[in-house]
Amino acid sequence: MAPISSPSPRRTGPQTRLPLLLLAVTAAALVYRLVTGIADRGAGEGGEGLIRWRPMTSATTAASAAAMPVLYDFTAAWCPPCRRLDAEGWNDTTIAARVNFEFVPVRVMDRQREDGKNTAAIDALQRKYKITSFPTLIAADGSGRELARMEGYSGKAALEAFLKDAKKSK
């Protein structure tokens, strides 16, 4: 008598095949991730330091909702004082905690030198706050009114004093 063959488990059958399309999409996403990572290398945008930078577009809305001032960090990748601010200021846990809890921090990266132009939103913001040098820190309320300004970076003590003043002047 022929032995009764049990059906093969479903998970090894053709029903569990991964379609090529899904694999191709994932591979394309991985390549795209690498390309955008390489394209951004040196731009220093976003995740540096301990500050939780918020999107520029929703900053004023978030500030109004939380009754906190917006803290704009106008910066550029090529600017040495900006790198000092990143390394000393935004990497200090006390300063970072103050910024994260008392402000809506927004990083505005100038790309004029690298790309020849900025996006319209960055241009508009730079014009609005009359930015002429980097780094410039602007504290503004939810309606966009400037509360305090710090141009250049002259050390952690000055940064702490600016943040204190900016919070008080709200």
Partner: protein
């Protein structure tokens, strides 16, 4: 896959509770949109649409019936996922229409003449919510392939809470390493690109790269886990 999408839509939108919940959320979102704030309620709409997106079918035995037909498991899974995304798009479209309607009615009654509601801006805000919601749905789909009942949403919430409290723990402990580790995790597991910039053509952004990879990875992981599972009637 189209059939799976249709099946999902029939299942979800055939439920009065789901429809009422979505309507209530759409009204609240429309009011928030009118006030200019982003539609933070999208995540709740995703919860309504995606809770138990796979696990409910599995526990009811419907999944076993479906898989007895000659279809790829991935087709079923992607059908569920795109069903959620399509329903979410409908929810956001309704939110936008309601916000415009409220504005027009308000203007007609002389209430909102100076509200500053801008139709184009509201449209962009709604459009921004779709990719955000699509990522949430992918995460929930992944959890739903191996967790029971509403465990998928619970895992999503626990993960989100851990990602947001991790950096604060690092700050509290004055440990920059912990903060950076959680920030990196957050940026890669739950990327939040600036959609407004992207809609204006800034496509080579690292945050968009992280988003695309995270979305694709969640879907691929969901497919791999789902393919490896054994399902038996009523035992899940």
């Amino acid at each position: 896959m189209k059939e799976m999408i249709r099946r999902y839509m029939g299942q979800k939108l055939g439920s009065v509770g789901v429809c009422l919940s979505l309507l209530l959320l759409a009204i609240l979102s429309a009011v928030m949109l009118q006030a200019g704030s982003p539609g933070g309620l999208t995540v709740f709409a995703v919860f309504v649409l995606a809770t138990g997106v796979v696990s409910r079918d599995s526990s009811s035995g419907a999944l076993q019936m479906i898989l007895s037909r000659p279809i790829l498991r991935v087709e079923y899974l992607m059908g569920r996922y795109f069903g959620v995304v399509l329903a979410l798009a409908g929810f956001l479209a309704s939110t936008f229409v309601l916000a415009v309607l409220f504005d027009r009615v308000g203007q007609g009654l002389g209430w909102s003449a100076s509200s500053g509601f801008a139709v184009e801006k509201a449209l962009v805000r709604c459009a921004e919510e779709l990719p955000k919601g699509a990522l949430y749905a992918a995460v929930i789909l992944f959890f739903s392939t191996f967790l029971r009942g509403a465990g998928d949403v619970l895992a999503f919430v626990i993960g989100a809470v851990m990602l947001s409290f991790g950096p604060q723990l690092g700050m509290f402990l004055h440990n920059a390493g912990i903060v950076k580790a959680f920030r990196a995790l957050d940026a890669n597991l739950s990327p939040a690109p600036e959609w407004d910039e992207i809609f204006h053509g800034a496509l080579l952004r690292p945050d968009l790269g992280r988003y695309a990879l995270a979305l694709a990875a969640y879907l691929l992981l969901a497919a791999v886990v789902f393919n490896r599972r054994e399902f038996s009637y009523g035992a899940d």
